[in-house]
């Protein structure tokens, strides 16, 4: 809708060497600097071709107490994914920066071993030599047999694109946290099980020992203790102690604060009964038929079926014992769940970062126009249920996040032990060589005005770029989940703010170190904009606003913390997208609703107060390229009043302008995508398997539609028919041809309801009235047989309801169209070459159309009299004027908007009976026959 991926491949890094390009002949505006790495041979995407893998993948590694760091599995589980990439080596690297304070043992004041429920640590690592960058999330699982009962693991998302990791940090973090939470839940379950078994064993051992002691006592009538007896007594005592310890552990693991799970979006399904049933079956099996129970069943076995074993007094910690596998460490249900989730994550983040970002942006925008989405948008993408799908898009969870924001503010604070964070931070210098170079660098020491809370974590020393000659770059770690959820919940638009791009880019440039362990930044909140960087990217910054900010105060206001940035984004977005709601309210209060417009922005602020804690600030403060576009729009909104932007007759031109600036934006900022090693196939890979329309389908449909527009001069009335709800019948003998055309035209068909795409690609039977009710685009077979005559008869009979596009004779019979909307939508001289681009162009215009329809449908006074005395006629004339002058619709365009508005109304009031059986609306208008 918003982006044009075509452009992506041809954008360039901003400061590409100009000297590499010195052909003077071309005027400035045509000069496209050569890709700076072109001389390396290969193609523009080959910057990171040094990396030994092509596609992103997920790696799970363990720091084994026996063999050290080792890779366990990759997702996708395919040897090809990693290629020649050395997983062992990379595991070593990522496992060596575990900041997690997974301390388990005997704390000073405590008699028993204490389990520490630590948060996962989240780090971004880079290995410029390998060309690999990774989001790494360390976690610990409990294992009774392991040293200190813990086994350190990590899950890593490995990509060749550093920017992708940085950009998607939040999303990655959210998704991986869910997966990790799932894994850990399973592990706790398994651990508790294991403990219970161990307790049984111990109990049994105690009984045996006790008996032995008794026997000895009886045997020994001499009245003094033999060494044997003393030994036994000691043994007994240690078993007793062990029992108490284990009981304590069990208590601890069971008392894990599940509260957290309840509050987060993630609701792991507790498969108690399922497992129970399974177990009973297993039990029966194992007890009756299969006495030698396999290890899997053993894993599941419950207490009754468990035969306690005698435990040797000293359970020797020897290295030859086999450690449990990851699968064994975790309840099998949760393990598979986790794998599913990770697979989902892999799918989700497939593709270029630019693609992901635009996807996120458009989805976020779509979320805000829920009412009109069903018309032209792909509803399936939006309707992912977070409950059902762990790996579901994070954006779709926004709502719940929003509603629960209050709780989330509180809960993480309770759960995250500050100690753990601090220790993780402090562990950096321990692991690295403490060689802080240039700690006085401005970007490092910048005194940033943070919230009180944030300040606690801020440590300039740690933020310093610790560069050692060794090898790992820590690009950033997450401060804590609290900040994340915090900012997330406030953001209505979860776009990674660009300042971060700038920062990370700059950071990236700064640290081209050959060999590099380098902690680029370990910042608590990931979008701090160092001042010098701001200055060095004037193109992306709104200078004016900057100056304005400077006037306000030295520190506080200009440095938006991410929440602020997002808030404002949210505001501007809200104001852009939801002006009509208020139009309705205002209109109701004030008969002359046009004049009351200036009240609007104020009203908005009031509305927002409930959600946003900080009063909205001028948009100008949003200081980077992308926002300039939005603020552009929103300033339109404000200055021109409510509808001016949408209703401006020169709307198109302003829209065009903003489009241009959007393009500029993508030019200036999408360097990361071009710089990244984007294989061209990656850009187009679908991120959402659920998607109704696959990307490929869209491309194809767009391509065919383009062809149709160029080929048929009467494309406009045909498209008008579709947009105005008049069923278009594509009649032809050749099935493939008809289907192709139907596919092409289907991008113009408004949905009549959720999940009902009213397109039928191929019908061979005569039509009746209900077909027109159900289908708005039909491919119909032309037959020469008597049945064909029958069919033609029905076509002529129902001719008033349909438009007929005859593929064979290249004619179109349909009402006249003289509007201006469709020519814009389908210009046969369009310069657009690619199908997907054209598809987006269409989506773009259709979205505009939707907003018009929305305005029309939801403006109170257009449909209802302002007071009792007003006649229906004056309402009608007002409606007409609105359509004509405010929405700038001419001739037949009115009908399109009216039809869409009618669909909106139907959808909104949702009469259940009609939902399944939609009404057929039609006009008595004459049709004309178009020929080529």
């Amino acid at each position: 809708m918003i982006s044009a991926p075509d452009v992506v491949a041809f954008t360039k890094e901003e400061e590409s060497e100009e000297e590499a390009y010195n052909e003077p002949a071309l005027p400035e505006e045509y000069s496209v600097p050569l890709f700076p790495f072109a001389n390396h041979g290969a193609n523009p995407w080959s910057k990171f071709s040094g990396s030994k893998f092509t596609k992103d993948f997920i790696l799970i590694s363990e720091f084994s107490e026996q063999v050290g760091p080792q890779p366990l599995l990759t997702i996708p589980d395919d040897a090809k994914v990693s290629g020649t990439f050395d997983l062992n080596y990379f595991s070593l690297r990522i496992m060596s920066v575990d900041y997690q304070a997974s301390f388990v043992g005997h704390p000073p004041g405590c008699a028993y071993p204490k389990l520490n429920f630590v948060e996962d640590s989240k780090v971004v690592l880079g290995d410029s030599k390998e060309g690999a960058f990774a989001y790494v999330q360390h976690l610990t699982l409990y294992d009774l047999e392991a040293r200190g009962f813990v086994r350190p693991f990590c899950m890593a998302y490995i990509s060749t694109d550093e920017h992708k990791i940085m950009q998607q940090f939040q999303e990655l973090s959210t998704e991986f946290s869910k997966a990790s939470e799932c894994l850990k839940t399973g592990n706790r379950k398994a651990f508790a099980n294991e403990l219970e078994k161990k307790l049984k064993d111990l109990d049994y051992t105690r009984t045996v020992l006790h008996n032995e002691t008794e026997i000895q006592k009886k045997a020994n009538d001499k009245g003094f203790y033999t060494t044997q007896a003393i030994e036994k007594a000691n043994e007994l005592a240690s078993v007793e102690k062990s029992i108490i310890e284990h009981q304590d552990l069990l208590k601890q693991i069971r008392s894990y604060p599940y509260r957290k799970l309840k509050d987060s979006d993630f609701h792991p399904y507790e498969p108690e009964c399922v497992v129970d049933q399974a177990n009973t079956i297993f039990d029966q099996d194992s007890t009756t038929s299969n006495p030698a129970e396999p290890s899997e069943m053993h894993h599941h076995a419950r207490m009754p079926s468990y035969t306690p074993k005698l435990i040797k007094a000293k359970s020797a910690k020897c290295f030859d014992k086999k450690l449990k596998t990851l699968e064994e460490l975790c309840d099998i249900y949760f393990f598979t769940q986790t794998l599913d989730q990770l697979n989902q994550i892999e799918k989700m983040f497939r593709g270029d970062v630019c693609y992901l970002l635009t996807n996120q942006i458009s989805k976020a925008l779509l979320k805000q126009q829920t009412i009109t989405n069903f018309l032209f948008e792909d509803v399936c993408v939006l309707d992912e249920k977070p409950e059902k799908q762990y790996g579901g898009c994070q954006l779709s969870n926004q709502d719940t996040v929003n509603t629960k924001c209050l709780e989330q503010f509180l809960i993480p604070k309770v759960l995250i032990s500050m100690g753990s964070y601090k220790s993780s931070v402090e562990s950096v210098p321990i692991k690295m060589e403490q060689e802080i170079e240039d700690s006085q660098e401005p970007e490092v020491t910048e005194p940033i005005a943070f919230d009180q809370e944030n300040l606690e974590y801020l440590d300039a020393d740690i933020k310093g770029s610790i560069s050692s000659g060794e090898s790992i770059e820590v690009l950033g770690t997450e401060k804590s989940a609290a900040v994340l959820t915090n900012s997330e919940s406030q953001a209505s638009l979860p776009i990674q703010p660009s300042p971060q791009m700038i920062r990370s880019k700059a950071a990236g440039r700064r640290t081209i170190s050959e060999d590099s362990i380098e902690v680029l930044s370990l910042c608590p909140s990931e979008s701090l904009i160092p001042e010098d960087f701001k200055a060095s990217y004037p193109s992306a910054i709104n200078e004016e606003s900057y100056a304005d900010d400077e006037g306000r105060g030295p520190y506080l206001s200009p440095r938006l913390n991410p929440a602020n940035v997002k808030e404002m984004e949210g505001n501007s977005e809200e104001e852009k997208l939801l002006p009509v709601d208020s139009a309705c309210c205002i209109g109701k209060e004030n008969p002359n609703f046009v004049e009351s417009l200036p009240d609007l922005p104020q009203k908005h602020c009031d509305d927002d107060d409930g959600v946003v804690s900080i009063p909205p600030q001028p948009y100008r403060q949003v200081d980077q390229g992308f926002h300039v576009n939005f603020s552009d729009c929103s300033s339109h909104d404000v200055s021109g009043g409510l509808l001016s932007y949408e209703l401006d007759p020169h709307y198109l031109s302003s829209r065009e302008a903003s489009k241009i600036s959007l393009d500029e934006y993508s030019d200036s900022t999408s360097y990361m995508s071009s710089a990244a090693s984007t294989c061209s196939d990656r850009t187009s890979s679908p991120a959402h398997p659920l998607s109704h329309f696959s990307e490929r389908h869209r491309k194809k449909a767009g391509q065919n539609a383009l062809k149709f527009i160029r080929q048929y001069p009467f494309a406009h009335p045909a498209i008008y028919s579709l947009l105005s709800g008049r069923t278009l019948i594509v009649l032809g003998e050749d099935e493939a041809m008809v289907k192709k055309l139907v596919t092409a035209l289907s991008i113009f068909v408004p949905n009549c309801g959720l999940f009902a795409m009213p397109v039928n690609h191929w019908i061979t039977s005569p039509l009746n009235i209900m077909d027109f009710q159900k289908w708005k685009l039909i491919g119909l077979q032309r037959m020469v047989s008597p049945a064909g005559v029958n069919m033609l008869h029905s076509l002529s009979r129902y001719s008033r309801y349909i438009s007929i596009l005859d593929v064979d004779s290249k004619t179109l019979r349909c009402p006249l169209y003289k509007g201006t909307l469709v020519p814009r939508l389908a210009d046969h001289r369009t310069q657009i070459k690619r199908g997907s681009t054209y598809y987006m162009h269409v989506q773009n215009i259709l979205t505009q159309l939707c907003s018009k329809a929305f305005l029309y449908a939801f403006c109170h006074h257009l449909h209802l009299p302002i007071n009792e005395t007003e006649t229906e006629d004056s309402v009608v004339s007002r409606r007409r004027n609105f359509l004509k002058f405010h929405l700038g619709l001419v001739n037949e365009d009115v009908k399109v908007v009216q039809y869409l508005a009618e669909l909106l109304k139907l959808q909104y009031i949702q009469e259940p009976i009609r939902g399944s059986n939609p009404v057929l609306r039609f006009d008595y208008v004459p049709s004309f026959l178009y020929k080529i």
Partner: protein, 438 residues
């Protein structure tokens, strides 16, 4: 070539720009009956009765009970004495039963199955709070479904139509005969009724197909061969001759025409309807308007449809709706012509028509003459095309729209698109208000 008047695709006066197809029946739908201002029942050859909401098109109830096709249906409104509105409908079926249904609950109240033959018509006498069933005999029932009285078996034919007349009389069309019955208080018991046969009117030459009571004074019948007879509805006993004699010309002419016309189907009077002034007759493919005061035909559309007109109705706004076997519904307007009518010609339409049959050329001239003589004309102002088979009947629901039923098993609800749009907006803002989104 068809001489049917056709209308272009532009129909400004046609208000029906939205339709809703109601599916449910799986055989020909023959009957529609209005229950109250917003509900109606449909019945047909599948023996199922459906209750529908005419505003939303919602299916309210599906009434199963009959095993054969339904032959008659009528609504039985509650008597005025009743406090609570209790709407009943009666259905008669070829399985020789009559079932009484309760509309609010969709329950079967009672089933009567003591008939010797299929009940072909049902009539409710609201004043007396009784209902009549007509088959091979005429039975009188009260609300509780007690058989009050019945006539003796009619040997020659079954009762095909019943109409209520003043003075507790009913007219029953039995084959070619019109029989007048009167209900009188039984001599034996105070609560019983007796039904007496008063008169047999044998003026029709062929089966009486349609029967309509214009007002308390007039009754009109139409027969299969196109005879239209206007009867005095009051004085059966002493003014019979007057009844038949006041319109001799028409009658006799009609008789003459029978011989001329080749195809009786073309002239059969399928349906009659009336307002205070005029009788509207669906004759073959055409529609004729007969003025009672002027005692002459004032307007006609000889081939209003491609096929037999099955049902016509007069709307308050001087409009007429007709439906036909050709699957279309047409809306006509009765327009007064400015030119002064020539001398009234008492010999009505049927004369011309006979000529038309005989000679095509003559038909043309006759038509011209017709037009010059009638001061009104029927103008086609809209047609509704949706059904793929014969439209059996329709119901006019005032502003709620028009319901049509057809042999293609469908019922279509035709609605005024403008009005629906307005209503939806209203609903939208109500919902917004409810959700506090406004």
């Amino acid at each position: 070539k068809s001489s049917v008047q056709s209308l272009g695709e532009e129909q400004i006066q046609n208000p029906y720009t939205e339709l809703l197809v109601l599916k449910g029946h799986h055989d020909i739908v023959r009957f529609l009956v209005k229950i109250d201002d917003y509900r109606f029942a449909s019945a047909g050859d599948d023996g199922i009765v459906f209750l529908w909401n005419a505003q939303t098109g919602e299916k309210l109830f599906e009434l199963h009970g009959h095993t054969h096709k339904i032959t008659a249906i009528t609504a039985f409104p509650s008597s005025d004495a009743c406090k609570e509105k209790n709407y009943l409908i009666l259905t008669a079926s070829a399985d020789r039963t009559v079932i009484v249904w309760e509309c609010n609950s969709g329950k079967q109240v009672q089933k009567v199955s003591c008939f010797h033959s299929t009940v072909k018509c049902l009539t409710v006498l609201q004043r007396l709070d009784v209902w009549l069933s007509g088959g091979s005999d005429l039975c009188v029932w009260n609300r509780k479904l007690d058989l009050l009285c019945k006539t003796s078996h009619l040997t020659d034919a079954d009762i095909s139509a019943l109409v209520e007349l003043p003075k507790n009389c009913v007219a029953a069309a039995v084959g070619k005969e019109l029989i007048i019955f009167r209900l009188v208080v039984s001599t034996e018991g105070s609560e019983g009724w007796d039904v007496l046969e008063l008169k047999r009117l044998v003026d029709h030459q062929d089966n009486i197909l349609s029967l309509v009571s214009v007002n308390d004074l007039t009754l009109v019948t139409g027969s299969h061969v196109g005879e239209l007879i206007v009867w005095d509805a009051l004085d059966w006993t002493n003014q019979v001759c007057e009844c038949t004699s006041w319109d001799p010309a028409l009658h006799i002419v009609t008789q003459q025409e029978i011989k001329l016309s080749q195809n009786q189907r073309e002239v059969s009077i399928q349906h009659l309807t009336s307002d205070e002034e005029c009788v509207f007759a669906a004759v073959g493919k055409g529609i004729y308007v007969y003025n009672l005061q002027m005692k002459r035909l004032i307007a006609c559309q000889r081939t209003a449809h491609d096929s037999t007109v099955l049902h016509i109705a007069k709307l308050p706004s001087r409009q007429l709706i007709s439906c036909s076997e050709d699957g279309s519904v047409r809306i006509w307007e009765l327009r007064e012509k400015q030119q002064l009518p020539a001398e009234p010609v008492p010999t009505g339409f049927l004369t011309m028509w006979g000529f038309g049959r005989a000679n095509k050329q003559a038909s043309q001239t006759a038509k011209k003459m017709q037009e010059s003589t009638s001061s009104y004309s029927l103008e086609l102002i809209g047609d509704l095309i949706g059904h793929s088979s014969a439209v059996q009947m329709f119901l006019y629901f005032d502003e709620l729209g028009l319901v049509t039923c057809s042999a293609d098993h469908l019922i279509i609800l035709w609605k005024d698109g403008e009005r629906e749009s307005r209503l939806r907006s209203l609903a939208l803002f109500q919902k917004l208000e409810q959700n506090n989104d406004l």
